[in-house]
């Protein structure tokens, strides 16, 4: 057997390749991003980064209509953006198979909420598979295409952080070249107007019944839903990571119904399993969705009364709830300071925030690395909701509080997020005679998700040069007459430019332009040095919040600024903060 140790996301990509997928369109989002990055390495699959998840979904769905096996990936909140096409695509069905992977983030390692994407599967009446490890990521991706084409439906593949970002062993197989199916015009199927949609809805309900039957029968034969009978005292129903935690904690002390298909659920199988065990538990991270279904079926279960609605589970969650076993361990005696994530040394966002700190601004924030500027010492954010909300939210805030407030308010949004859904908010401001000042932090990359190219940086997913959105021209085209570009490492220049735009009773777009310090193409300066004769130990430089800058006691007992030479890239923002000229350019 040819096998490899693969990240769950890498295994999904492998499964897609083996399934003969031709077209992939995604928007990056932790923990889903690497699926599409791995896909981009296969030359026999067309892949792209789309401007947002709605576009990605529609591209994939269009490709499926055109007869190709297609795919899109997104994080849980991305599916909210793509929900509109999802719900109607479910009515229409497919020609070539289509799968949409959605990665949840229980515990919010890198997200603004921990919504449960299974709700979207239920509400849109779309079948959903949920793998528990990398081997299943590959296997279920392939099965999903067979089901998609057989039942005439897009399929959802639910992942979570601990599946997407865990490596385990995957069996490698050859690619099944399925080609592109014939396309035939079919208005009744593909054009969703009321008359056609009424018929389509009937088919959707029939499909759900057929797939429930499938879940009860063939899904067991195919190893999607599996049964393991051990003890009759305890029965556990679980899916995905929750199953792995339960199996680890309880071993052969319990029997298991592992669900690989989480929508629709197998009704007979659940009832039958329940009848064979004395105590039945549903163990599921986030919402009590399987539990609710059990209750609807009249099956008595214990679920959310015992297991939290919040955060990630683990084997010890299950152990604590169901056994008497207790963990034994040592702890460190003393306070352990937290280590929150911070903007990197040399990050251009730091320069912008430091320049505007102290101006008493209301800062409407957005989703990206720059959200880290909300934390002390920069403390430069008042609000952050979702992708694009900084601009539209600022407009609303300023409309509510008047033009004087608008002179003390800004929105900050990254280049990729601006393209994703910030531009629509900017159009709203221009169209409705708003006066807001919006700052695009253009670092030439989608940063937080690990450096993906985007429509504003001039490179495709494969790194090939392409047209780049001209942000200045775009802003002017939608009716923003004041467009200025600043260098965020020029602290005084940035401050003056933003002040000038805030004074205007017109909308403005300020582009704070400097590439991400982690990009390989960025040349770094020598680390800065501290002149011990000039440093008086006032700690003003600490206000820039740079991880490469701290205070240490010198030989004479004085605590002075100290530069971590392994981290410092010589950006010099800290030097702007020093009134004594004690931080000097490195030589």
């Amino acid at each position: 057997m040819n096998k490899a140790l693969m990240l769950g996301n890498e295994a999904v990509a492998r499964g897609l390749w083996e399934a003969g997928v031709n077209v992939v369109s995604s928007y990056p989002g932790t923990p889903s991003t690497e699926i599409t990055e791995y896909i981009s390495k296969y030359d026999d699959i067309y892949s792209e980064w789309a401007p947002n998840e709605k576009v990605a979904f529609e591209v994939a769905f269009g490709a499926a209509t055109g007869g190709a096996r297609s795919f899109c990936a997104m994080k849980h909140v991305g599916l909210n953006v793509a929900a509109d096409p999802l719900y109607t695509a479910s009515y229409i069905g497919v020609n070539g198979g289509m799968v949409c992977a959605v990665a949840d983030d229980p515990g919010m390692h890198s997200s603004q909420n921990e919504q449960d994407s299974r709700h979207h599967a239920i509400a849109s009446k779309t079948p959903m598979l949920e793998p528990a490890d990398s081997a299943e990521c590959s296997a279920f991706a392939k099965i999903a295409y067979d089901l998609s084409e057989r039942f005439n439906t897009p399929m959802l593949l639910r992942l979570s952080t601990r599946v997407s970002h865990a490596r385990s062993i995957v069996e490698l197989n050859d690619r099944n070249e399925v080609g592109v199916k014939e396309y035939k015009k079919d208005v009744m199927k593909n054009v969703m107007m009321p008359a056609m949609a009424r018929g389509a809805h009937v088919r959707v309900e029939e499909r759900l019944r057929a797939m429930t039957e499938f879940a009860d029968t063939e899904a067991v034969e195919m190893g999607i839903n599996t049964l393991e009978y051990n003890s009759t005292d305890i029965g556990i129903i679980a899916a995905g990571t929750s199953y792995t935690y339960a199996r680890e904690a309880m071993g052969e002390k319990a029997s298991y119904l592992k669900l690989g298909m989480v929508n629709p659920l197998p009704e007979k199988l659940i009832k039958d399993f329940a009848s064979k065990v004395k105590e039945l538990y549903v163990i599921e991270e986030l919402d009590g969705i399987i539990e609710a279904q059990c209750i609807k079926l009249g099956v008595k279960v214990t679920g959310k009364d015992l297991f939290s609605l919040l955060g990630e589970y683990s084997q010890s969650t299950v152990q604590t709830a169901l056994t008497e076993e207790k963990a034994d361990f040592d702890t460190f005696d003393g306070e352990i300071p937290p280590r929150p994530p911070v903007l990197c040394a040399g990050c251009p966002h730091r320069g912008l925030y430091y320049a505007l700190k102290g101006m008493g601004l209301y800062v409407s924030g957005d989703i990206g690395c720059y959200t880290l500027g909300a934390q002390a010492p920069l403390s430069m954010m008042d609000a952050c909701v979702c992708m694009g909300a900084s601009i539209s939210g600022l407009h609303g805030f300023n409309v509510a509080r008047g033009k004087e407030q608008a002179k003390k308010s800004i929105a900050v949004i990254g280049d990729s997020t601006f393209i994703h859904s910030g531009i629509t908010g900017l159009i709203d401001i221009a169209y409705n005679k708003g006066v807001s000042t919006v700052i695009v932090l253009d670092n030439s990359i989608t940063g937080m998700t690990g450096h993906q190219n985007n429509p504003a940086n001039g490179f495709t997913i494969k790194g090939d040069p392409t047209v780049a959105v001209n942000l200045e021209a775009l802003a002017r085209a939608v009716g923003i007459n004041n467009v200025v570009v600043v260098d965020p490492f020029d602290i005084e220049g940035t401050k003056a430019a933003v002040k000038a735009e805030l004074e205007k009773e017109e909308p403005s777009l300020v582009i704070s332009r400097r590439p991400c310090a982690l990009l390989k193409s960025v040349k770094h300066e020598k680390p800065v040095t501290v002149n011990a004769d000039k440093c008086i130990g006032c700690k003003a430089c600490l206000n820039v919040g740079c991880p490469a800058l701290s205070f240490t006691k010198r030989e004479n007992g004085k605590a002075l600024a100290t530069i971590d030479m392994t981290q410092c890239v010589g950006c010099g923002v800290c030097a702007s903060a020093c009134r004594f000229g004690a931080i000097e350019k490195g030589e």
Partner: protein, 190 residues
């Protein structure tokens, strides 16, 4: 064989992922079932990061809980203190002596604890401390501190040293093989 648990902890950007990748590959080649769980995204930006490596006949959960780790490999002292509760009684803590101040300490809002490793040793924990950064620089680059620590950990794994050498050779970029092998040797001897 029961499942063995190795926790790798450090600060985002220190290169904890390469060590876990090498381990995963080695255990798979021997014939074990393996799970390696990583942290990507926001937490990587200079935050406290952890990677779980588990191997054995059959591994279910991808994570390691308190009191379960046979070995903790720590890239930084404060992280050794933070993750100490994850060490199994009788387990081994391999800690670099490197110190990286977290933002609350830089800001003067919190104190970096004094004598962390000595305090841990006083508890009767089996502790191997080494200057991984210094040894990495001796090998040629600060970037291979992760391989130094891997070298130190390998002594406790009971797996033939040559297997690790082969895995390193086949995994790291060809140009970096020599420096990584030197780093591995320095860690192994430390």
């Amino acid at each position: 064989m029961s499942v063995k648990n190795i926790l790798i902890v450090g600060v985002g950007g220190q290169g904890t992922l390469l060590a876990s990748k090498l381990m995963g590959k080695c255990f798979m080649n021997i014939g074990y079932d393996v799970k390696v769980s990583e942290v990507h995204g926001m937490s990587q930006r200079g935050g406290s990061v952890v990677t779980y490596v588990r191997y054995g006949e059959k591994v279910y959960s991808p994570v390691i809980e308190k009191g379960e780790a046979d070995i903790i490999i720590s890239f930084e002292q404060l992280e050794s203190a933070r993750w100490l509760p994850y060490l199994k009684k009788g387990g081994v803590l391999i800690s670099s002596t490197q110190r990286i101040d977290p933002m609350p300490v830089i800001m003067g809002k919190a104190e970096y604890p004094e004598d962390i490793l000595a305090k841990i040793r006083e508890k009767g924990v089996e502790l191997v401390e080494l200057d991984a950064l210094g040894l990495a620089l001796e090998a040629g680059t600060a970037k291979c501190a992760n391989i130094v620590l891997l070298g130190a950990a390998v002594r406790f794994l009971g797996i033939d040293k040559e297997m690790w050498v082969d895995i390193i050779k086949s995994t790291v970029p060809p140009k970096t093989i020599d420096v990584n092998l030197k780093a591995f040797e320095l860690g192994y001897m430390a």
